[in-house]
């Protein structure tokens, strides 16, 4: 049963919209701030209900506050998404046609890649082949920088992947348009852009999901085919070396 919208709900929604993407702990602080400011009943564990009330009112507008998990750190993030869009429409008003084309092609590269990353070299080469109009490398570099600032892409060591915000906003679009290629995490069943893949049976999992699943297991085995998990389980390798260092050399790393 959804309660009425109050100014606290409206304020929360306004901030979420202007942030683009909001981290879980920030959202909780914001929830408290809004309730206190607008003198509305506040309970720290009622954030889901609070958001649910807003979502009931957003539904007729085909909008929704959606929660997504970061593929980097496993933390929850919130974004306001449009459910009715079938293309990268939210971006459509902020970028030119040629910039959008570059983004779509970059997204192709990222989704079709093994590890969910596209190198800047590959992307810059794309700039040359755009249908709308050729884009110079310098210009493309600048556009990529803007995509990162606006949180559509994130960059690590000269390679680009989709930002959590982009994944939350476009998950449905990606799953339907890249049906055969887009990977789903075997553990949480949402879209996986960056993932570890089993060499034997091909199932994929998010890195934070892998971490959680294999926590405390000395012999990690694939949940799909039970073969020994060949990828480095994030975190374990370092822990083993750390332990060895302490034992052998008496060093704290």
């Amino acid at each position: 049963m959804a309660a009425q919208m109050t100014n606290a709900h409206r304020r929360f929604l306004q901030v979420l919209m202007s942030n683009g993407i909001t981290e879980g702990s920030e959202a909780r602080k914001l929830h408290q701030h809004c309730c206190e400011t607008d003198k509305v009943y506040y309970a720290h564990d009622k954030l889901d209900d609070f958001i649910s009330t807003i979502n009931t009112n957003l539904q007729p507008l085909f909008m929704q506050i959606r929660k997504g998990i970061s593929e980097d750190n496993g933390r929850a993030h919130y974004a306001v998404v449009n459910l009715a869009e079938t293309e990268v429409t939210k971006m459509a008003s902020d970028y030119t046609e040629i910039e959008l084309e570059l983004f779509r092609k970059t997204m192709d590269l990222i989704i079709l890649s093994e590890n969910g990353f596209a190198s800047s070299t590959d992307i810059l080469n794309l700039a040359d082949q755009l249908k709308t109009k050729k884009m110079k490398k310098k210009e493309a570099e600048q556009v990529l920088k803007v995509f990162v600032e606006d949180k559509w892409l994130s960059e690590k060591n000269g390679e680009y992947t989709l930002h959590t915000r982009c994944i939350i906003e476009m998950e449905q679009y990606i799953l339907s348009n890249y049906q055969d290629v887009a990977r789903k995490c075997n553990i949480c069943h949402s879209l996986a852009i960056q993932s570890q893949v089993c060499e034997s049976c091909g199932i994929g999992m998010h890195l934070p999901c892998v971490r959680k699943y294999f926590r405390g297991q000395t012999e990690p085995r694939c949940p799909g085919c039970n073969e020994f998990w060949s990828c480095d389980t994030p975190g374990t390798k370092q822990r083993i070396f750390k332990k060895l260092n302490v034992i052998i050399l008496g060093n704290g790393l």
Partner: protein
């Protein structure tokens, strides 16, 4: 220019709950129902269109609304706009205001009362708003209109220089003379027959809707540790202005 393409056959009827009362029975109900759904759909589209435009604080022209959203439903224009406004207020705490009744230009203003206290959110906005408030205060206290040279001289006192890149605001000249003006917070008018060209700054229509002379005077009073009545003429002007709203 809108580049959005909507998916066809959205089946808005499954979401529509806003039927009008007293349907005319002479029109076959199926047809009426279908066009009511379409109108509901238009209301949703208009709300989203306005939100997107507002994000960049670009004033919205009626012509754009008609061309991009209303299209063949011109007859229902005022109903659609009225309902979009109601939705914006109820769900988002924003209000659609016709800022220019001659040229039919709209803006969205924030209906929510200003939040006092800790604001870890939207820091960049807050800083720009701080600068804007200071500028609006200066203009008001100086009689509602200032020469551009006077404004820059004043900002020098705050270590803000038009020629120099500012660590927080960047290109301040651009921010003040372009961004704030485009967003209708400030109005800049060239003074005729001046060489080199001089300009004057005044409050823009959005400033008048989103804040008030009284708020601004209270801000100045707080900054200077005095009572607002200290500035007798500004105080009576602010009171008069509030009485008119």
């Amino acid at each position: 220019m809108s580049q959005r393409k909507r998916s066809k056959g959205l089946g808005a009827s499954q979401f529509s709950t806003q039927m009008t009362d007293g349907e005319d029975d002479s029109i076959p109900t199926q047809v009426k129902r279908q066009s009511q759904d379409q109108v509901n759909q238009k209301v949703s589209e208009l709300v989203q269109f306005l939100l997107v435009k507002d994000q960049k604080k670009i004033p919205i022209k009626r012509a754009d609304i008609l061309k991009n959203i209303i299209r063949e439903y011109k007859n229902a224009y005022s109903e659609i706009v009225k309902r979009a406004d109601r939705t914006l207020q109820e769900v988002f705490g924003l209000q659609l205001v016709e800022m220019d009744t001659k040229r039919h230009i709209y803006i969205l203003i924030n209906n929510l009362p200003h939040a006092e206290g800790q604001h870890p959110y939207r820091a960049k906005e807050k800083e720009k708003n701080g600068l804007l408030l200071v500028i609006l205060s200066f203009i008001f206290m100086k009689g509602n209109s200032v020469k551009d040279s006077a404004l820059w001289e004043f900002l020098h006192l705050l270590r803000v220089y038009p020629g120099k890149e500012h660590s927080v605001f960047g290109d301040v000249k651009k921010l003040v003379t372009e961004e704030f003006v485009r967003q209708k917070y400030l109005e800049i008018t060239p003074t005729p027959l001046t060489d080199p060209p001089e300009f004057k700054f005044q409050w823009g229509p959005r400033a008048e809707k989103e804040t008030s002379k009284k708020d601004v005077l209270n801000f100045v009073a707080k900054m200077q540790g005095k009572d607002p009545t200290f500035w007798a003429s500004q105080f009576s002007e602010a009171e008069a202005s509030q009485a008119n709203t």
